[in-house]
Assembly symmetry: C2
Homo-oligomer: 266 residues x 2
């Protein structure tokens, strides 16, 4: 089964467009957990276990594991291995390089780490993205319009639209998606116009203050997976008490329901 | 001592503008070496040992270690630890993310992996790069014009010039450089015009066929470190016999001398 088929199953079964980002930092992890590889893995697996009824997909961000060096990467590999195979995993790696190096990154994320999908950066053009697209059963979310202030430096006003247009043209294997931040709903609408039915991975609704209702309206395309709404911190750190995982589950359920309430009636 | 001070020492002492890229792949590593973490580390340390008289800097590419998972990252950490502290190391990681994630990547590359400098991707703008610039003693090489065909997709004709201009403006800590590929010398000249005296990290002269003489002429700025010329495969795999390291050393010396011969007389 491909990443997007698996994802569609999850979306339909759980009525959920929620992506739970797994971005662990020691300072915010409940104090009763040991600051060890085991403690970190336990924290993440408990979060996964208590949120998986409401999450369509999980998205570990490589940065938060890389900072711990080889031992962090070991936790990441183990985490992905232990997430039940029905639930797809997006490796939020923002990778991108040229030629042979790009092939190495694609193989690393998809084969070594076993991610079902990945986030990649478009700056280096088609041949830098092609090795990722060449895994037709995996998903490839290309950065298009990010949720940070710096999106205004290069992406706006034109570049993000060029990216959307080219990625659509390059998407011959049908496994591409776009990353568009919830902080600029008016731009999302413009991206949707030229991107056709490509799934959007949408960060920025929680701590970054994006408007959920406007975002969903702008991103809708009538397909089964028009978008995935990502939340990380608001779920992961819903509580620092011993019931942190249960509270994370509650936060995930609440956001899933809120997304469904805000979805436009088509 | 900062990365660029250390680098200047190396450039002056060795009369070398050569950067040796460390991009190991099993298929090309001499067959007599064991396919283990130890074998990989031995290969790389032997290469470093026999080329260091001619190389100003080493540049391991993270992709080639990540593909081996946690154990590859362990080799990378160990490799960087074992390169003598006088010789600076550029972590060729092409990282970039927003907000807190970008801080994590900066900390990972500079502190966890101990690199003196890093390559980063500019797509997400200033606040994605700032956490890297905020290590004033480290170097930050921002992708500007890459050496691959895909550079034509977004970077040309304008974007790479905008990147050069903005990075120059953001470079208040004086630790920025640009990555410009040797495959388009005419564009390098245009980048040099607007970038001031920022060191260029230049890939693409070896296997990718860039013109060394034209490239050096276009990239020159009269400073002590106008550029670093990177070569990976042509040095690493100069031979697959037992004398591979010695042959790598010869190839490094040859390229260093060739660069010096081609340098314009200012």
């Amino acid at each position: 089964m491909t990443f997007f088929e698996k994802l569609e199953n999850q979306v339909c079964t759980k009525h959920s467009y929620l992506c739970v980002g797994l971005d662990p930092v020691w300072e915010k992890i409940p104090p009763h957990l040991p600051r060890t590889q085991e403690g970190l893995l336990e924290f993440l697996l408990m979060i996964v276990d208590k949120t998986k009824a409401h999450a369509a997909v999980f998205k570990p961000n490589f940065a938060y594991f890389e900072i711990l060096g080889a031992s962090g990467m070991e936790v990441l590999q183990e985490l992905i291995r232990k997430i039940t195979p029905e639930i797809p995993v997006i490796g939020d790696a923002k990778r991108g390089d040229v030629g042979h190096s790009s092939q190495m990154y694609a193989k690393a994320v998809f084969e070594t780490f076993g991610c079902g999908a990945v986030t990649v950066t478009p700056y280096q053009g088609e041949d830098a993205l092609r090795p990722f697209f060449d895994y037709p059963e995996r998903g490839v979310f290309v950065l298009c319009l990010t949720s940070n202030p710096g999106a205004a430096d290069f992406q706006l006003p034109e570049l993000h639209l060029q990216v959307a247009k080219k990625v659509r043209a390059w998407n011959v294997t049908g496994n591409a998606g776009l990353v568009v931040g919830a902080t600029r709903p008016e731009n999302i609408a413009a991206v949707r116009k030229i991107s056709g039915q490509m799934p959007f991975l949408i960060p920025g609704v929680g701590a970054q203050g994006g408007d959920l209702e406007k975002t969903l309206f702008a991103a809708e395309d009538g397909s089964k997976i028009p978008y995935l709404i990502n939340a990380s911190r608001s779920i992961l750190y819903a509580s620092s008490s011993e019931d942190y995982a249960q509270q994370a589950g509650n936060a995930a359920k609440k956001l899933r329901d809120q997304i469904n309430l805000c979805r436009p009636n088509l």
